[in-house]
Symmetry: C2
Subunit: 499 residues, 2 copies
């Protein structure tokens, strides 16, 4: 019994946290693309040496309103011994979290930079980590007015200005810049190559669901893919989960029913929070269903869904359906001893950056189909979604803005003869892959698809357990990046010869 | 003598106006790209039928700040008998003036649209004409805060949203959109094709000086080209003008010297305003040095510089240098009976929209060389320029922003394999041509250059006096546009066949 106490305490914490992850369950706010990033303290980055710097940015690049500037954090790799003026810059477009955490989890960039004598830069996204407008997170997240400038376009302009200034300060204006990003950061990398071709020669956009908007891909895609990941491991596991929601609802209706499960939580009088907690576990498991043990979101075994399903399929472990479900998701949540990674005071107003972004620009409609999904059937309802955003953040979403600003509809035709040098890499186990680019668009806008890959696995540090397909995928990426860089220098040479 | 009074009155008006055109002379604020647009009442558009509509726009597209929306005016061609769903849309990107004036002076779009069954749309630029934020020009132009959102990026987003909405309302989402624009409008058209390739399939950017920024082209370019236009007609005329500035200065130092020239103007105790007035005349003459009589800025004869120089070179007309100069520029300013085209109350705060834009983003450095220019030597001084902007508008310019946002440096290399379907058309008599793209960048980013063309002459209504080279230039443009449209429909067909 005493051994159970820390576990129950942890579960309580997790439940509290899961509530702030998103809105009430039936609304199905899209998951954060890099869930938990905002509340995990970064683990010490393995062997990556960098300097931390700050750069003063405008709050609104697209107006001349008199707003206070803010300090953007960025990391510059110290191992620049081989780097000289004009050599490449590898620039990671920070996403919705602490940049040190992304730096620690994007080994790909650090490992391959020396081969290109490239300078590594990781830039933090505004309103995350230490890059807070108005001087503090509390003030930046105060209300809709202070959050107004947390948008993707402003973040891209930050990167464009930072890069321009950095190159000038290094007297290295001719350095080719290659962009990197995973998940939302991958979307930013792809969009930045499209919007700022004069600043970056190419982008590796890993697991970047730039088509997960409006009616470009079916709204069921995400949850169908999560469900497929479970069905793929075990049909009975898929079915058990699909049946569990009713059981959960029934349990919830008993007096104190939920308390039996999670213990110590007061005022919990509906099952929504618990459903959301389970939904999160399944969705994140699908994202990090890596072929080797990992600890991106949580310490997990290789192919964690297989392990979860083993528990769910194991009738010996418990008698009731819910007890088996609980044993399964414990694989995901059960990592005692790391509670100090959480910071409950991180978000004092219950507002999260990604929640704001999802309620303004990043409106990714998500439904759950009756047939293919193991989740309760749900049709995305924009009106309800919008109301919830007004209530939570005092802001109305603009659901068509992202596709107006960045495109998405009919993307193959639009980019067939426009744009170049983008890699869209995706693993098909990743539920976000359904909203990404999975087919080559042109000779130089390339889709690299791995059937067994999960969420931006290619960007992760290499391990001794990397399967062959992953090693090959990274080689393909490096070869493409090499060709962009060679083309660039070739062009420069041609230009100076002809002068 | 009585015949002189209206002329002198007119000169007085012109002088008053010229003061508000730009800052004090030595600062050399760049000319408005479509000078006088903001104060000319549009002449009745020839035969172009259109409906005037209004569309509600956000004030700041790139933030979620709670700002009042405004009504953007746009004109939709009525002659849409031949137009059906899916047919092309020809979209003119309005520049810094009343959109009806641009519609009246952009005959090219109206004349060729029927050949493509294209719907014609002219959209007004925010803060010009009737497209005023805050409900009125007076409030929109009140101060730096109210003017904050007068930027090119916001204008492009206006156009992107307007087009997206318009196509949706017409149930014509598959219509290919071709962008048109002259001068600043041409810059917007080119930038829009680059930034919003999913919204427009191509752009004809006529006389669009997208390289007139930072240190991309030499700052002397503009005035050197103006000077060349005069020298080309008459070396003695060029010399006379070059010598006239000292004479003017000397005359100004005599008591009431200037009053002798312009009459009735009080408190005029330096020659700056008069110099600026002459500078304007020469610069605008170079822009509109058309091969046929025209009335774009003023009613003028064919090749007006030739006529101006005839006067300046004609010693019989007057004895003194300044009197000959005066006789010359009278060709430009002397169009009696049209004073009602001016509206002195147009700009009650002495703030002009282009002045604001030049003091914020559109920082186009302009110097005047000792050797090649007929203007007084001057080196662009950004510090002084910035101070003047702070004094006049309460705003600091951001001189590197346009090139950060839109590029410009090394444009041939950047766009060689990125982007497509842009025509940069330029006439070499136009002093703005020096800041534009004069060489093909790729197979589909094309420069069309005419040695005898002036400012966006190709967009003007066709006349019986059009020289052959102009007829051919327009044919080339039409053929290119035809190929974009054919490619687009071909691609659509391919896409639907393969489904």
């Amino acid at each position: 019994m005493p051994r159970l106490i820390p576990l129950l305490l942890l579960l309580l914490l997790l439940l509290l946290l899961s509530i702030s992850i998103s809105f009430a369950y039936p609304l199905r706010t899209p998951r954060s693309l890099a869930p938990f990033a905002r509340r995990l303290r970064p683990r010490a980055p393995a062997n990556y040496d960098y300097e931390t710097r700050f750069f003063q940015q405008r709050l609104d690049h697209f107006s001349f309103a008199d707003q206070p500037p803010f300090q953007q954090r960025f990391l510059v790799g110290s191992a620049t011994a081989g780097w000289g003026r004009g050599d490449p810059i590898f620039f990671y477009c920070g996403n919705e979290g602490d940049i040190e955490w992304f730096a620690a989890n994007t080994g790909f960039v650090w490992e391959f930079a020396p081969r290109f004598s490239a300078l590594v830069v990781f830039a933090e996204h505004r309103y995350y980590g230490e890059s807070m407008p108005f001087g503090s997170k509390e003030r930046a997240y105060k209300d809709a007015e202070s959050l107004s400038y947390l948008t993707a376009e402003q973040a891209l302009a930050d990167y464009a200005i930072l890069l321009t200034d950095l190159k000038k300060n290094l007297s290295s204006e001719n350095s080719p810049v290659v962009l990197f990003g995973g998940s939302y950061g991958g979307m930013l990398a792809a969009w930045m190559r499209l919007k700022y071709p004069h600043i970056a020669i190419g982008a590796l956009a890993s697991s970047a669901p730039i088509l997960q908007f409006e009616n470009i891909v079916p709204p069921e895609t995400f949850y169908d893919l999560v469900s497929n990941d479970f069905k793929r491991e075990s049909v009975s596991c898929f079915k058990a989960i699909k049946e569990s929601w009713d059981a959960l609802e029934a349990q919830g209706k008993e007096h104190n029913g939920l308390l039996k499960l999670i213990c110590g939580r007061r005022n919990l009088n509906n099952t929504d929070a618990l459903s959301d907690w389970l939904d999160s576990a399944y969705s994140y498991l699908a994202m990090v269903d890596y072929p080797y043990p990992s600890d991106f979101l949580m310490p997990l075994p290789a192919y964690p869904i297989k392990e979860v399903c083993k528990k769910i399929d194991n009738y010996a472990e418990g008698t009731s359906l819910l007890e088996r479900i609980y044993a399964g998701v414990n694989i995901y949540y059960n990592y005692t001893g790391t509670v100090d990674c959480f910071d409950l005071e991180d978000d004092p107003h219950g507002m999260s950056g990604w929640g704001w972004q999802a309620c303004t620009e990043m409106v990714m409609p998500m439904s759950s189909s009756e047939e293919n999904s193991m989740f309760p059937a749900y049709n995305f309802d924009f009106a309800a979604y919008g109301d919830e955003c007004v209530e939570s953040y005092g802001v109305k979403p603009r659901p068509r803005w992202i596709t107006t600003e960045f495109g998405g509809h009919d993307i193959s035709k639009v980019l067939e003869k426009f744009g170049s040098n983008i890699i869209f890499s995706n693993g098909l186990l990743d539920p976000w892959s359904g909203g990404s680019v999975l087919q080559n668009i042109s000779d130089s806008i390339i889709a690299l698809v791995t059937p067994l890959g999960a969420h931006h696995i290619d960007l992760r540090p290499s391990t001794n357990n990397d399967p062959d397909w992953l090693v090959k995928q990274r080689e393909s990426e490096i070869n493409l990046i090499q060709s962009w860089i060679s083309d660039y220098y070739q062009g420069k040479k041609g230009a100076s010869n002809s002068m």
